[in-house]
Amino acid sequence: MSGLTAARDLAKRPVVTLDGEAVAQIKDTVFDGPAGRIVGFTLSGRGLLAGPLRQSLPWEAVHSLGGHAVMIRGREALAEPAAVVARKEAAGGHVLGARVLTDAGAEIGTVLDIVVEGGTSGRVVGFRIAASESLVPGSRRRRRKVYVPRGETLAVSGTALVVPAGVTHFVADDLPSFVGQIDAFRARAGREGAGPAPGARAVPVEADAPKEGPTP
């Protein structure tokens, strides 16, 4: 599996052709929420004075999403803005700020950011959430930000999304440890379906290391 990236960190990442030319940079990432994948990117020009570009980058035209650049074959991969933006509206929109509920009915937090897999898949693998107290017990003032896998079943509306209750066993504090949690989550989902399984390979939240410091 390629590295994981938070969608917010994709902003300003250069779009580079296989000929080594930087033709644009990422402005926004557009998601299909229910499908759990990237639809494409809106673009801006490169440089200090550059504004939004009248072009977009559909996911099908991406050669690879890397840690330092989004690679495309050539300039001709860029499309009309409508190619991406129209599908954003069709997909029904915003996930950021949405409440996260488990299918057992517990609210575990609100979405701060979306975590995607690098490479060619364009898959959403999880969310960075502001954890509610039921998920991460502790002082109210130390509002924790954690990563949760999205699970294979996912329901999204404009204001909330529902994830399998099992994902709460695979919470991580930072992206590097989230990679391991995703692998463990998938391994278990593959073995027993999405239902929670006591014991097994579940990792309690408290055992995660290293801890993220208190965030204001």
Binding site: G20, A22, H63, G66, H68, M71, G118
Partner: protein, 149 residues
């Protein structure tokens, strides 16, 4: 094999007249063919810098680059390819990950064929190069070793 860094700054001299045209500023690489296509020559004050096609070169030695004649300069067509400097260029894999910068490039002084690209993270064979542009030198992604179990 010679290195780009060894030939930079060599005097460029004509074979017939032994006239010094200038100094070798850089080499233009055509990534698709894996060869050096042109030499860029910076000329003394009052003259415009110029490019010389690789096949107008008589010899590239340790102390000078010899071109067939000064006519090679005038005969140079206007179709000179855009030059992208290879030395110090950022390296990106086709997967979109940075892989250091180009420290040096070895080449065969007889044929102009590129040998290996030296980077801070090791050497890259010429056949791993995909493209060279203003922003980066793009290379093939290596077999995944980073996330091996």
């Amino acid at each position: 094999m010679m290195l780009f860094s060894q030939v930079q700054g060599l005097p460029v001299v004509t074979l017939g007249e032994a006239a010094e045209l200038g100094v070798l500023a850089s080499l233009t690489v055509e990534v698709a063919s894996g060869h050096i296509s042109h030499l860029r020559v910076s000329r003394p004050r009052g003259h415009q810098d110029t490019t010389i096609a690789w096949n107008a070169l008589h010899a590239l030695g340790p102390d000078a680059a010899l071109v067939r004649s000064a006519a090679a300069l005038d005969a140079e067509p206007a179709t000179t390819p855009v030059h992208h400097e290879m030395l110090r260029q950022r390296i990106l894999t086709e997967a979109g990950d940075e892989r250091g910068t180009v420290k040096d490039v070895s080449f065969d002084p007889e044929t102009g064929r590129i040998g290996t690209v030296h980077t801070a993270l090791g050497e890259l064979p010429a056949d791993s190069l995909l493209g060279l542009g203003e922003y980066a030198l793009v290379v093939r992604a290596e077999p995944a070793t980073r996330h091996a179990p």
